[in-house]
Amino acid sequence: MTRSLTLSAAAAFVLLALGALVLPDWAMFLFAMALAKGLVCLGIVGMMRGGLVSFGQGLYYCLGAYTATLVANTFGVSDIFLLTVLSTGVCLAVGLAFGPLLASYRGIFFAMLSLALSMVLYGSLSKMSFIGGTDGLNIAAPTFLGWAPEGRALQTALYLYVAVMVVIAGTLMRIYFDSEQGLIALAARDNELRVEYLGASVRNVNTYSYVFGAVLGGIGGTIAVLALGHVDPEFAFWTTSGEFVFVAILAGYLSVPSVFVAAIILEMVRSFSNLYFPNTWQLALGIFLLIVIVVLPDGLGSLVRRRKGDAT
C-alpha cells in the first residue's frame, strides 16, 4: 500500500468520523444508510470497470440483510462483527456459485441475468410466510463486542462502524483497481479481444469483479438492516437494484470516494425532494440524473481526473 493511499484512507476516516460529532441524529442515520448502499454500489463500479453493469445487486444486499436477521433471530447472535462475517460469507458462497456462470455473458444479457436472479430471490422471499413474507422481519439492535449501546450512542457506533467498513473496502478496492488484475479489467472494458489474444481470461476477471460485488453487497445489506431494524423482500426488488446502478452511474468508474459521495448525494436529493415534492420526487430524481449524464458523462469521478490531468 502506498503512502499516499494510506494517508488518503486515514483522511477519509477522520472526515467521516467528524460526522459523528457534528451530524444531527437524522443526518447520521441518512449518512449511515447512504454509505451502506455506497458499499453495494462500489461492487457495481468494480464490474463497470470491466465493462459490465449488474442490475441485480439487490440480490446480495437482500441476502446479506436476511442472513444477518435470520442468524440474529434464530441463534440470538447480536454481535455486529459476527453478523457481518456470517452474512458476507453467505454472499461470498452465492457469488462464487453464480459468478462463473454470469461472467460468460456481456452487456444486456449480463444485466438481465443478474436482475433475474435478484427477482427470483424477491419472489421466493415474498412467498415464504414463515420468514415474514412480504412483511419481512425485524432485527434487534446490534451489540459491539459485548457492548450494547442505545439511543444516540447506538447510532454513533453504527455510523462509525460503517465508516470503518467504507474506508477498509474503499482502500482494498483501490488496491485491486490498481493491481494487475484490476488493470486487465480496464483493458477488457476497452477491448475484450485484445485482452484475450494477450493471454488473459476476461471471464476470470469478470468473475472476480462479480464476487467482490457480492461480498460488498452482503456487507452493505447487513449494515443497512442493522441501521433500519427491519428487512423485507423489497431489498431484492428491481427498483432497489436500479437505485444502486443510479449511484454507480452518478459516481462513474474512475474514483472510489466518488461512489460514496454519489450515494450521499442521492440520499439527500431523495430525502429533500420527498420532503418538498412528496408526489413528484421521482421526477426530481430523474431530472437530476439527466443533468449528471449530460454534464458529467463519466460521473463525478471524472472531476477528479480532469483536475489531475490524466489519472485513472
Binding site: 494487475e180 489474444y197 493471454g199 488473459a200 481470461s201
Partner: protein
C-alpha cells in the same frame, strides 16, 4: 518449430475471405505476407492468433493441431500479435501496456522483457509513464511492437507495422525487427508492399483475394511454388 496453415478457409457473413490458404514457417524465419487492401492479410493473422473462426482447414504449431485452441491459449504458446490499429489500452501507461502479457502469463519475465524492449527502443524509456492515449500514432506503433515482443517469445505477427509511420520511425522499426534475428523468433509481417522490408525478410508470400498465389525468396522473382 513450425507454423503450418493447411487449406485454411475463413468465411465472414457468408463471404469467403480466405480460400485454401496454405503455407509453412520455420523457426527464426522472417516472412512477408504481401497483398493489396482486402486481400486477406489481417484475416490470416487473426486466424493464426485464433481470433478468426475457421470454416475449413487446419492450423498446426510444432506439429500439433491448434485449430480449436482459444486465442488465450495460443498466446500462452508464445505468439505475439501487433494488430494494424495498435489496440493499446488508452487508460494504461506505456509500460503497463507492454507489461500486460507478462501479467497474465507466468512464463513471461516482465522485467526482463521490458529491459529487452527498452534496449531495442530506448525512446520508449522516456515515455514509459505516459498514458498511451497521449502518444502519437507512430509512438503507439512502437509501444504495440514492444508489447508484441514481450508476448511473442516464439512467433511474432506484425500487421502493417510500417503503415502510417513517418519514414524515420519506419526505419527504426525495421532496424528493431532486423535486430531480432539473433533471438530465434519467427516473424510474419503483413504488408501492402515490401519497400520497408526487402532486406529484413527471407521469403514473401503473396496473397490475392484470399488465396496464396506465390511463395518465393525475397529478391527472386520466381514462379509460384507449390504451397501446403
Amino acid at each position: 518449430m513450425t507454423l503450418k496453415l493447411e487449406n485454411v478457409e475463413v468465411t465472414i457473413q457468408a463471404a469467403p475471405i480466405l480460400r485454401g490458404v496454405s503455407f509453412e514457417m520455420q523457426a527464426a524465419e522472417r516472412m512477408g505476407l504481401v497483398g493489396r487492401n482486402g486481400a486477406g492479410k489481417t484475416t490470416v493473422m487473426r486466424t493464426i492468433t485464433g481470433l478468426a473462426t475457421l470454416a475449413g482447414g487446419k492450423v498446426f504449431w510444432d506439429g500439433t493441431d491448434i485449430s480449436a485452441m482459444s486465442p488465450r491459449d495460443r498466446a500462452m504458446l508464445g505468439f505475439g500479435y501487433m494488430p494494424e490499429d495498435r489496440r493499446l489500452v488508452p487508460d494504461l501507461t506505456v509500460e503497463e501496456n507492454m507489461l500486460l502479457p507478462a501479467w497474465v502469463n507466468p512464463d513471461i519475465d516482465g522485467a526482463r522483457g521490458l529491459a529487452f524492449v527498452y534496449d531495442l527502443m530506448p525512446e520508449l524509456t522516456k515515455m514509459s509513464a505516459r498514458k498511451s492515449l497521449l502518444l502519437s500514432g507512430g509512438q503507439q506503433k512502437m509501444v504495440a511492437l514492444g508489447r508484441a515482443l514481450i508476448a511473442g517469445r516464439r512467433l511474432l505477427l506484425l500487421d502493417e507495422p510500417f503503415e502510417g509511420v513517418a519514414p524515420a520511425l519506419a526505419k527504426r522499426i525495421s532496424e528493431v525487427i532486423t535486430s531480432l534475428r539473433s533471438e530465434g523468433l519467427a516473424v510474419l509481417i503483413a504488408q501492402s508492399e515490401l519497400s520497408h522490408s526487402m532486406e529484413l525478410l527471407q521469403r514473401e508470400c503473396v496473397i490475392e483475394r484470399g488465396e496464396i498465389v506465390k511463395v518465393s525468396t525475397v529478391g527472386q522473382d520466381t514462379a509460384a511454388q507449390p504451397v501446403g
